[in-house]
């Protein structure tokens, strides 16, 4: 069992929280600023992760080129998903996106010759030949690690370096979202969010803007998917479980749906919440068996979510007055 004061453990929590935070930004752009309810965002993560892994292992592409291709596929998929579904009303669209998330996971585990099937990317070259794709990533991380080593000494482990990279990317994504929503383009998105008909009546092609925001959000989610794949060294369909999307939604709602600064804060709170309960090993928790204790820990996570929503329905940094405007 890890200790509360174990830097390695918390750095790992930081990596995961950062990746979820990036995913939450993709939802923020789509929902907070354009009103789209997308519950299948994990599909974009899976697509870019798998595209990257397959291109590196099977096509021999370099990791960075393959990663760029993964992001592009995620963006294009946003457009492809949007064309038939965006004409649906918001709540119908939401449920269909859940379906998309499920189907992508399903295809990943069944198209064995392409994806390695249920065993995941390690099976990409067949059962006798373990495949890996993350060599270039490991090199990059160790370079960052050595830079960090100059600054913080032995605390700069590989995990800490990974965390630094993830959070730098998170900040870049935040800045990109910030720039986009303050630009005239982002203004149109917000108009669509507030009143689609009125936006159409002022000559805005609502459909096109929504396709664009699905593509851009898809790319951001794709980035989260890549980091997820890098961090875990091998991916399988269950890694891109649909519940990941709900975790990202939880972070977004915790943050306040239009609060860009709220997302990192909410990611940290979320990470501490999920990881923190692992340290509930003192009495009365210590009297329980490990299975029972893990049930209870997740119950506490659920209860904490309920409590947070009860105390701040507008999110940690959300604007209450804005939330109430029709």
């Amino acid at each position: 069992m890890s200790s509360v004061f174990n830097v390695q453990f918390w750095a790992y929590v930081g990596v995961i929280a950062g990746i979820y935070g990036i995913l939450a930004y993709s939802l923020q752009l789509q929902h907070g600023f354009c009103g789209l309810l997308n519950f299948g965002q994990v599909a974009f993560m899976a697509l870019s992760g798998y595209t990257m892994a397959i291109l590196v292992v099977k096509a021999g592409l370099g990791l960075w080129a393959a990663s760029a291709a993964g992001l592009a596929v995620a963006g294009v998929f946003g457009v492809l998903m949007g064309i038939p579904t965006l004409r649906l009303r918001a709540d119908y669209f939401a449920i269909v996106t859940i379906a998309v998330g499920e189907i992508v996971e399903y295809l990943a585990s069944n198209m064995t010759s392409l994806t390695g099937g249920a065993a995941g990317s390690i099976n990409l070259l067949g059962p006798q030949n373990a495949a890996s794709y993350d060599g270039a990533w490991q090199d990059a991380v160790s370079r960052v690690q050595s830079w960090l080593g100059h600054a913080i000494g032995s605390a700069a482990t590989a995990t800490v370096a990974t965390m630094a990279v993830v959070w730098v990317l998170l900040v870049l994504v935040a800045l990109a979202v910030w720039f986009l929503v303050r630009s005239p383009w982002g203004r149109v998105l917000q108009a669509i969010r507030d009143d689609e008909d009125a936006a159409a009546a002022t000559g805005k092609n609502v459909f096109r803007f929504k396709l664009q925001v699905l593509a851009v959000g898809g790319v951001i989610a794709g980035l989260a998917g890549l980091l997820f794949a890098f961090e875990s060294a091998t991916i399988s369909p269950t890694d891109y479980d649909p519940t990941i999307t709900f975790y990202a939604w939880t972070i977004l709602v915790l943050a306040g749906t239009t609060s860009i600064a709220g997302v990192p804060l909410a990611s940290v709170v979320f990470g501490i919440l999920f990881a923190g309960v692992l340290f509930f090993t003192f009495p009365p928790f210590s009297y329980l068996g490990s299975a029972d204790r893990s049930y209870l820990q997740l119950m506490i996570v659920g209860a904490a979510l309920i409590l947070l929503m009860r105390l701040r329905p507008q999110g940690l940094l959300g604007n209450r007055q804005e939330m109430l405007l029709g």
């Binding site: 005239p184 203004r187 009143d195 159409a200 002022t202 000559g203 805005k204 405007l325």
Partner: protein, 298 residues
């Protein structure tokens, strides 16, 4: 901006100059399985200042939705500026210079009034995803233009001090003003106004109508508005279209419409009928008066 005098002259001529700008031919509209508009035909000349009147449920708003692309007509054709526009999506209709407002005054509630106005502007490179990133200078230049134009128009409708407030904090009437001003930001050729004065106090309503009249004169703007305030309709419009039960029953200059018996019966209602209704109401209420004590205070 032209003063009121020239606007009056331009309006007098408005009905006579130019070819048909809007041509609605035998249009039918079905809403939720109900036939709301049936075989409606009308045409507006460029520069016209026309109004659409008719009893409630006559299909006026449905026709407006059809012209602006929000409803797809089940029959007929709509031509605007020589092009057939029925079946076009609303944004394409709007971009072609035919801009409408809504009965309820629909604004972007979580954006500032100024941003609402800026959204009305056309040809903004910043609204194109690629140009927004690739041509920052063009974006900034257009943004500055749009902003000053927006402030001017906001001031003109009396919302200048509200520029930085969220539109969702405006009252119902103020929202309609903002919406109208936003429509003008598009520099439209034709504006369709759905009851511009309903929910706006008469003083402001008159100012709005005067403002519309001025712009009408100054920019060869064609105006087509649904309105119930007959004194305004008759005084201001050079052409009146009357609908009843989904059909256009009369179309012509105000004085001609005013004297038409069919219009009178369908719309204005004869005084005798009203009195009959009133009396029936009195009797109905008098009959049930004894039962009223049941809702007593406890």
């Amino acid at each position: 901006m032209a003063d009121a005098g020239t606007s009056g002259e331009a309006r007098a001529e408005g009905g006579d100059v130019g070819g048909p700008l809007l041509d609605v031919r035998a249009v039918g509209v079905t809403v939720g399985g109900v036939r709301a508009v049936e075989h409606a035909t009308l045409s507006l000349r460029e520069g016209a200042f026309a109004s659409l009147i008719g009893p409630n449920g006559a299909g006026k708003t449905s026709l407006l939705h059809a012209i602006s692309g929000f409803y797809r007509p089940s029959a007929g054709e709509i031509h605007f500026g020589g092009r057939r526009i029925d079946g076009w999506p609303p944004h394409r209709v709007a971009a072609s210079g035919l801009v409408r407002t809504f009965q309820r005054g629909r604004v972007f509630a979580r954006l500032s009034c100024l941003d609402n106005m800026r959204l009305g502007a056309r040809d903004h490179p910043g609204e194109q995803f690629v140009a927004n990133l690739a041509r920052p200078r063009a974006r900034r230049r257009r943004e500055a233009e749009v902003t000053s134009e927006a402030r001017e128009l906001l001031a003109a409708v009396g919302l200048g001090p509200k520029a930085d407030d969220l539109a969702g904090t405006l009252s119902g009437g103020q929202r309609k003003l903002l919406e109208f001003a936003r429509a003008l930001m598009c520099r439209p050729k034709l504006v369709l106004l759905d009851e511009p004065m309903a929910g706006v106090n008469p003083t402001t309503g008159r100012q709005v109508m005067e403002r519309i009249a001025q712009l009408h004169a100054a920019h060869s703007l064609t105006v087509f508005f649904v309105e119930h305030q007959l004194d305004v309709v008759m005084a201001m419009s050079d052409h009146v279209v009357v609908m009843a039960e989904g059909r256009v029953i009369k179309s012509g200059p105000p004085e001609e419409v005013r004297s038409d018996q069919a219009v009178h019966d369908a719309y204005l209602g004869s005084r005798r009928r009203r009195e009959a209704v009133g009396r029936r109401g009195d009797e109905a209420l008098a009959a049930r008066a004894p039962g009223r004590d049941e809702a007593g205070l406890r």
